[in-house]
Symmetry: C2
Subunit: 417 residues, 2 copies
């Protein structure tokens, strides 16, 4: 393997805004009660004005505040790595690169948005953030970010995860967050992301000092993640590549995919591929229409691919990909034919994860392994055709806290395999 490290001085100083570059204008989110387009005032109780502006901004580039860059520098720029040992094992003429987002404090790409969200809230005088978390990737990232800015953080964690995955909970506690199982009013319920969102929103609207923070789906979250693709572009050039032929990332709410893919969007020669679980096939089998972001129907209606807001996917290990809907931007790019999508059952995904862990010595998160599966299949296709394809995927997170999932795979206990 070869690593392409960018110097700190090459850290991007502006985010790439895809909104003004969309081929088809975006349909607006609608108020759940009035069904009218949502305006800034509707969102003000939940988010700071700076994030609301980003949510709708027509500006092609948006400056990253210096205070945010100072913290991102703790782990950014992240390495771009050429997976030469994997290429060799596959016997492919393709060149496989991955962007290593697992080096962040919480171990995934999520802090890229948690840090600016905490910053903008602090700047507007907010002293406390409330959020929900499923398996805990987002909750731990926001806990880290709020600790950096001296904000309080309250995390409503899906009760089943709270009880079965204690390590993420400890990580949040270590960074000072107050973590409680959700739903708060029904200790007998295992909980759901939808119920946890309701708890967090209810907390937010009941207190003057508190705002709400969301870890994916929304435009401003996708925006913050574009730093991944911007760095990757520069690193690929340093590696002597003109462009990637294909960019792949796992896709749940969409911000991870957006992060690496959006900065390549304007180059029509680059294929963009979102990879999702076969058990939660939002882009591949869902329908494009207005739907709620949560199970309870409290959020605005968003134009997106959806499996229905009451869809309950099976309890696969890639908890971060168990979402009924998808980012409205990613959805529209898929509808426009700019973004491809494919879906894999988790057995095929873990098989790829094992192959990667042996060849490259890194143990990926189950979510990340979806992108690896896609990348390996692209490389194997290139082997058939003899094409020297350039493949780029996002290594969105490590699997150090997901080893129980590997245990299930190794012992034949996977569902939907």
């Amino acid at each position: 393997m070869t690593r392409f490290n960018l110097p700190e001085s090459s850290l991007p100083t502006a985010w790439f805004n895809v909104l003004p570059r969309m081929a088809t204008p975006m349909d607006p989110p609608l108020h759940p009660g009035t069904q009218q387009p949502v305006g800034p005032d509707d969102l003000a109780p939940l988010f700071p004005m700076a994030l609301i502006e980003q949510e709708m901004s027509p500006t092609p580039w948006i400056d990253i505040p210096g205070e945010v860059l100072d913290i991102l520098k703790l782990w950014r720029p992240t390495p771009l790595v050429r997976a030469e040992r994997l290429e060799k094992e596959l016997g492919t003429p393709a060149r496989i690169y991955f962007k290593d987002e697992s080096v962040s404090p919480a171990g995934s790409h999520k802090p890229n948005s948690a840090v600016p969200q905490a910053f903008y809230n602090k700047q507007e005088g907010i002293t406390r953030l409330a959020t929900e978390t499923g398996a805990g990737q987002w909750g731990s990232s926001l806990s880290f970010a709020t600790a950096q800015f001296g904000l309080e953080c309250k995390v409503y964690m899906v009760r089943a995860s709270y009880e079965q995955k204690p390590y993420r909970k400890v990580m949040m506690g270590l960074w000072g967050a107050d973590v409680v199982p959700s739903p708060v009013d029904d200790p007998s319920s295992p909980g759901s992301l939808g119920a946890a969102i309701s708890d967090a929103v209810r907390d937010t609207v009941s207190r003057e000092d508190t705002h709400y923070a969301l870890g994916s789906v929304l435009n401003h979250v996708c925006l913050h993640q574009t730093i991944i693709g911007l760095e990757a572009k520069e690193q690929l050039a340093a590696a002597g590549e003109v462009r990637p032929d294909v960019v792949l990332a796992s896709c749940g709410g969409g911000s991870n995919f957006a992060g690496i893919a959006f900065p390549f969007m304007e180059d029509a020669a680059v294929r963009l591929v979102a990879v999702e679980p076969a058990s939660c096939p939002t882009l591949t089998e869902g329908e494009f229409r207005y739907d709620f972001g949560d199970v309870a129907g409290m959020t605005p209606l968003m134009p997106m691919f959806t499996l229905g807001h009451d869809f309950m996917p099976p309890s696969i290990h890639a908890g971060g990909l168990r979402y009924h809907g998808d980012s409205p931007i990613v959805s529209q790019l898929h509808r426009d034919g700019r973004v491809e999508a494919l879906a894999y059952p988790q057995g095929k995904v873990f098989e790829a994860a094992m192959q990667f862990a042996k060849a490259e010595g890194k143990i990926p998160a189950p979510e990340t392994a979806h992108a690896i599966r896609g990348a390996i299949d692209e490389a194997l296709a290139a082997k058939e055709t003899g094409e020297e394809k350039v493949i780029l995927f996002n290594y969105s997170g490590h699997g150090h806290l997901d080893l129980a999932a590997y245990d299930d795979y190794l012992n034949g206990r996977l569902i939907d395999a």
Copy 2:
């Protein structure tokens, strides 16, 4: 924080051998039966000749084989990081640098020796390695290394860890190792490192195809780890530092400390400080004399600081530092006054770990946190005197699989606090 990344082309190509540079010649290991000095033939059933030669080599620099470098490149050179946010929080004029060994496949410095050990065994026709592991850092590193060379790997894991720390076991299985609880002949016993060594040695001598591998203490293991200090030296120069004033590392069997400290040994202006747990104070309170490496008295007698080979430290979280003895080289350097030693109770250690995790966003292994405690105290001393001291410590491993220990700390359940 600022990271100083070395290009791959700067990866050291030779290990630094401290043996010919010792002020006092080393006393030889003695055969446990005859009490006579151990020769190569005595060790041949356990180790390949290349490692036996390294164990006693007078050569100042020993070339690293290309096949070993090819694998080390998966994560090396590792970053040197200046912990500017920690400095700021401490309000110290000191500059604090750490060498980040947590980026390796198994998450610690251990693969630096596991890879060459697997390589030399493969080269001499061995097809299977047996080893013991306590908490699992060494076992997972050797599992990774043997997978790279297509060797079988058998790991005898202390039964208490096998049952209580399943994640490390899964990691080993993922890399293809066969992991069994030890002692194998007494399923009711929680086991000990000494008993697991006996199981691994018994396995080794009963099979022609098998050798034994040890993860610390021995001279050749310390040798392999010097790549850490060699890189750090070059990176400090790139950072504009003439030398570190003090180098710190946690010290159990000694190879981690050796790795970062030995390459600085010949510069008398550099203080070298080994940090150990107060509950297993080998260098600080042990006696320098010949003692066995294992509890059962099967290994050669080694001249070292020891608490007695039947010493049983309390079950602190820094499992990697629970060893009654110490590397003979490190021991002699301490006796000669070249190496300082200090000991901390684990409460003070976790306090430092938390401070580091908040400031720098990285969660250290409990072993590593000993070095962090020492570095913070050096920085606070510099604050008192106003000295612009340069502090270097080894960030030997991440704590992602040690979050249960943090949970104990956060909930007041630590012993020997």
